[in-house]
């Protein structure tokens, strides 16, 4: 999309898994210096969202067009979600208990299963908002589930699209 705009602003573009070719602002690139577990060589992603699919956020790899994680803000899954980063995480320049929405954006990866979608609350994606460096932070001391059940059947119905996960403040 936006090939005219892309030329006008000379923005780079990439192939995406679901959206065809997209142009993006270079400042929108999220960098994972260590990649993600099982995807250690995937370092650069962009985040894509669309109003009718909120609160879904698509995390598209810039290195591999076919790799796009479906995510939602952690706060949309668990309103009282508490993020505590291990001291072993050195990629982010944030407090160990960063403020969601101020210091960091916190997204959880959704896995689609035959039994229904689940969210990985144990290992959220944490993005430092100042540097846009990110890490998948495993919260080993937490009681959060790696397969937290999500109920999103409303996503497939047009009337219920805005409230599938009941996003609350803060949403991050």
């Amino acid at each position: 999309m936006n090939s005219g705009l892309a030329a006008q602003f000379s923005m780079p573009s990439c192939q995406t898994k679901y959206f065809g070719e997209l142009s993006y602002e270079p400042s929108a690139v999220i960098e994972f210096p260590d990649g993600l577990p099982a995807f250690e060589d995937q370092r650069r992603f962009i985040l894509i969202d669309r109003q009718d699919l909120k609160p879904l956020v698509f995390m598209q790899s810039l290195d591999t067009p076919g790799l796009c994680f479906l995510t939602v803000p952690a706060g949309a899954v668990a309103a009282d979600f508490r993020l505590e980063l291990s001291e072993e995480i050195t990629v982010l320049n944030v407090p160990r208990k960063p403020a969601l929405g101020t210091d960091v954006v916190c997204l959880v990866i959704v896995t689609l299963r035959p039994t229904g979608p689940t969210a990985n609350l144990l290992a959220p994606i944490v993005i430092d908002l100042r540097t846009l460096r990110a890490v998948q932070a495993v919260m080993t001391d937490s009681a959060y589930s790696i397969q937290h059940p999500l109920s999103m059947p409303a996503m497939a119905s047009k009337d219920a699209a805005p409230e599938p996960l009941q996003v609350r403040e803060p949403v991050c």
């Binding site: 609160p55 990985n120 059947p153 996503m155 497939a156 803060p170 949403v171």
Partner: protein, 115 residues
């Protein structure tokens, strides 16, 4: 499973190339120092779970409720935003009117078909 008792500072050897030293004993955690050949992946066990989960997540959309949504996405519709999460990030993740580069050719999203 082999069980061994070790004091702080003591180590065990696995074969000739792997050494695991009990570097520090804290109140609720112990710190291990591990020396192993570079080709061996040394990770906490829960990281292996995360690896498996990420691989499952990457193989998205096989016969689930969201499959229709994914096909809708593939069919097109305006992208509201593909900008950096700058400014007020709360707005970035909650308000579609923020941080949006207006596209004169944008059109409303097609309604999702009833299930």
């Amino acid at each position: 499973m082999l069980m061994m008792k070790r004091r702080q500072g003591e180590a065990i050897l696995i074969g000739d190339d792997i050494e695991i030293q009990l570097a520090h004993i804290g109140r609720s955690k112990v710190k291990l120092a591990i020396r192993a050949p570079r080709h061996l992946r040394v990770i906490a066990k829960e990281i292996q779970q995360v690896r498996n989960e990420n691989q499952a997540a990457a193989e998205l959309g096989c016969g689930t409720d969201l499959e229709d949504v994914i096909s809708q996405i593939a069919a097109g519709g305006p992208i509201t935003r593909i900008a950096a999460p700058q400014g007020d990030p709360r707005a970035w993740l909650s308000g579609p009117e923020h941080n949006t580069r207006p596209d004169p050719r944008s059109r409303p999203a097609p309604p999702l078909p009833p299930k």
